[in-house]
Point group: C3
């Protein structure tokens, strides 16, 4: 039984929520749950957000489908429609509404008795502090903040209003998280950046004196590591969305509304623009700049600054292994191959200079006797 | 002093455990510990599982070596043999037996007094709940389950019999783990998938209404992140083995007995077959299908569905950096090189069109002067 | 307000700390904080550590700049200098001194009342044990060790003097951490290595009987996973520095003073030398050897042993996506292209065998009629 199943809802509720016009249904149509076109059962709500899913819509058993006017003809006879301007955005809004219904805001004691809150911390009376949380001196926890179990907030750290930290987040001292953020379990914000001086064959530590500053409306997935700055701060702009297992090095600055998929690593002092999209497993070297609107393909490595928006890729194409072995050997010898081609071009150019046989790129045939 | 050293064991114990026949030893031969062929000392047990290790066996100081009949001649004169059908499987069985001897099942209070168990949770009386665990309402904890310190079990989550969760695992609400699973420290199961709708330059959250469903006999390493589904569930089949630091995106389905090495990232809605093996650091893009029995090389990116089992690879071969620089430049110019070769082919074809020698694709030789 | 801002310091303090000679300043020059050349304000201290930053120094508003004699002429007239032999090492030393001033050693109860310390553990009286820590039987915690909140120390594990474990580290049973180590939040040391025997389509677990042994002066970042050995131990040598989200497989041995950047994965039984540097996101396959002093570029995969120190690279160069598509197609056909070039070479050699026009690599012209 899925998380959104506890209670049915009405088509009219949806119109109240996202607007739009009902097609072949009235407001009292009762719905069981939200499901994909493929998995929907009679009684379910679904959505058609792109023309490439027309066929799935035509075959869907859903009873009500959120759809744009342009695609309304794709609905099967068995489905009513909720016609809206942006079906995907409406799906997002409905999903949030259903989630809130399925798991209403918690009530009960605001600070769990097992939490360990420093008397010099400022915790808003409306905040909820889970079991085992540890909150350091001089930290500030905003209104309606929710901290999951065992979350650790360092000294002088602060969290803006309405943010949710899931269990086991660590926010190191002095770091800040903005308002309406969501940080998933296990993420570590503000550990030391990777900075060492090489002295006589050993590494001596450079203390990391900067902080991490995270804007408003940022979401960060599970088990990420966002390092504090060496001197200045590491900054993640408003509205950024980070997936799981992402490393953000010290002094990195990420512009607003940039989305970063899972397993990405960003090295120290990189500057990422606004509205970028970085594919899963990609890497960005340090001390370079990625311009606003750049898109990096999955598992590609950015080795130089990018000054043009649009998609950039650098990944070896997947092949059956025997083909790969041949291609890899040929790739190793590619500079030699280029030399051989150059040699061929010269030889051909010379050989075609023979009397009466002008080559394409050879000397002017008129010069021939 | 290694974990398996506390107490000696007898060759006869091994025969009782895995069967087989002793060669040049009787059941009373006493052994100190299990070690690799290279590191074994006199008095130790070792194993020879593949012909390529014959030389290590011949040089080993082990007193008893688990071996197949086919390789028994590889043993040195100083070693007795335990001849079995599958030495590697016997090694596995012996290792498990020694581990259980070295660290017997815990006794003492079943629920640590510092744990925080919701009165509406169902915890089997035989389960062991470690210090600081937090167990949500309506969750179900099976028989003989062991939860390490600070593990957090969300509302309505459930864990099958005999599963072991090491310290600091987080199981989000509604997610389920099957029987006989092992989940290592720091792993997060059921955080929100990475789903957002783009609206006017901003990302609006798509609530993740699905769950995570993990089968029986699954092992998951440390600090992984397995996301809950957007609408339907993320599913990991029976017998799957996942290493550390692995990301599994929302709606992913992984077939039974698939093994995934460390640092792999699987994007949302990918379908992975049964009995696959995925090398460390590999990536799998979303919304594609990998067939049963496919094998993906380390750090290769799967960009399209795979319909043929067997090994697939896509990785740039490692080179001394100066060679790499030349190869990378040549690779960037590879399409141009191909054009040059095509041009050469044409030119050569034309140049060989000398009178009496018409080229296959050249202009009509009659036009030649 | 940055972490290093609470109290001003004097130029004379710096001379006392790192030596060197003041240029255009006396010991009473008062400084506000340490900043980069670009961000420094009047009153700040900065440093110039490489000739390539001369221009930044010339434009810097810092009041005092740590500099070598060779670069002292790069300072602007507004800045005094502290002339030393190794400005970067001095910056490191000053950063550590400022960090210690900004966050002095904690005082108060040595073992937090919420910690759960086994009566058979040996905890030095000078150690500080944070809230919610769990310390197993027979473990040994050295002098002046600091354990952050919720850190879990398994049975028979041990930690050397002066080491700092940040919140939520897990040290599995029997594992050891040396003296003066720093382990960041969320890191898991000693989870089971990824070892299974394949038996009839299923994976049977190989118990991991080895341990993890970490030397002195090692730093490990956040959310790493260092697996215990299968039979022998996983070993990380003295002075190694590991960044975040790194996987170290079972039986791996890493030589002293090797530095490993974030998101690296090292597969089981790899042997890494001393003084190596491994770039972010790189991968190292199992059962191979990397020699002392080898340097691996970011996101490169080491597939064979490396016997020569110096830089090794294997990464597909980043391109605008349309260029990449052409290059990827051409790469797949590269073996065929090589065959075409070979064919061209043969054809040209034959075609140039025409009377009176011997080809460079053609048959002996004397054979021509």
């Amino acid at each position: 039984m899925a998380r959104n199943s506890p209670e049915r809802f009405r088509a009219g509720d949806l119109v109240g929520l996202v607007g739009g016009t009902l097609l072949r249904a009235d407001a009292d149509l009762t719905l069981n749950r939200l499901a994909s076109l493929e998995h929907a059962q009679p009684g379910d709500l679904s959505f058609l957000a792109a023309a490439r899913h027309r066929r799935n819509a035509a075959a869907s058993r859903a009873s009500l489908i959120i759809v744009s006017a342009a695609l309304a003809d794709a609905l099967p006879a068995t489905a009513a429609g909720l016609v809206v301007d942006d079906p995907y955005a409406c799906y997002a809004a409905v999903s949030r509404w259903l989630a809130a219904r399925a798991r209403p805001a918690l009530t009960g004691p605001a600070i769990h008795p097992s939490a360990c809150v420093d008397p010099q911390a400022q915790v808003d009376a409306s905040a909820r502090i889970g079991p085992g949380c540890v909150i350091g001196a001089f930290s500030v926890i905003g209104a309606r903040v929710s901290l999951g179990a065992h979350t650790v907030i360092g000294e002088s750290a602060c969290i803006g209003d309405d943010s949710v930290l899931h269990p086991r987040v660590v926010l190191y001292p002095d770091c800040s998280v903005g308002a309406r953020c969501i940080i998933h379990a296990g993420t570590v914000i503000g550990a030391d950046g990777f900075g060492f001086a090489h002295e006589g064959g050993r590494w001596s530590k450079i203390a990391q004196l900067g902080r991490v500053s995270i804007g408003d409306d940022v979401e960060i997935g599970a088990n990420c590591a966002i390092d504090r700055g060496a001197l200045e701060d590491t900054v993640i702009g408003n509205g950024c969305k980070l997936d799981n297992l992402i490393q953000v090095g010290h002094n990195v600055r990420i512009g607003e509304h940039t989305a970063i998929a899972g397993c990405v690593g960003i090295a120290g002092s990189a500057i990422i623009g606004r509205g970028c999209m970085i594919g899963g497993g990609a890497g960005i070297l340090g001390h370079l700049t990625v311009c606003d609107g750049a898109v990096i393909s999955a598992m590609s490595l950015v080795t130089r600054s990018i000054s043009e928006p649009g998609l950039h890729t650098g990944v070896f194409p997947l092949m059956p292994n025997a083909d790969w072995e041949r291609a890899a050997v040929a790739l190793k010898r590619l500079p030699a191959l280029r030399d051989r081609v150059r040699q061929l071009e010269q030889s051909l150019s010379e050989s075609t200079e023979a009397p009466g046989s002008p080559g394409a790129s050879g000397p002017d045939p008129k010069e021939s006797p």
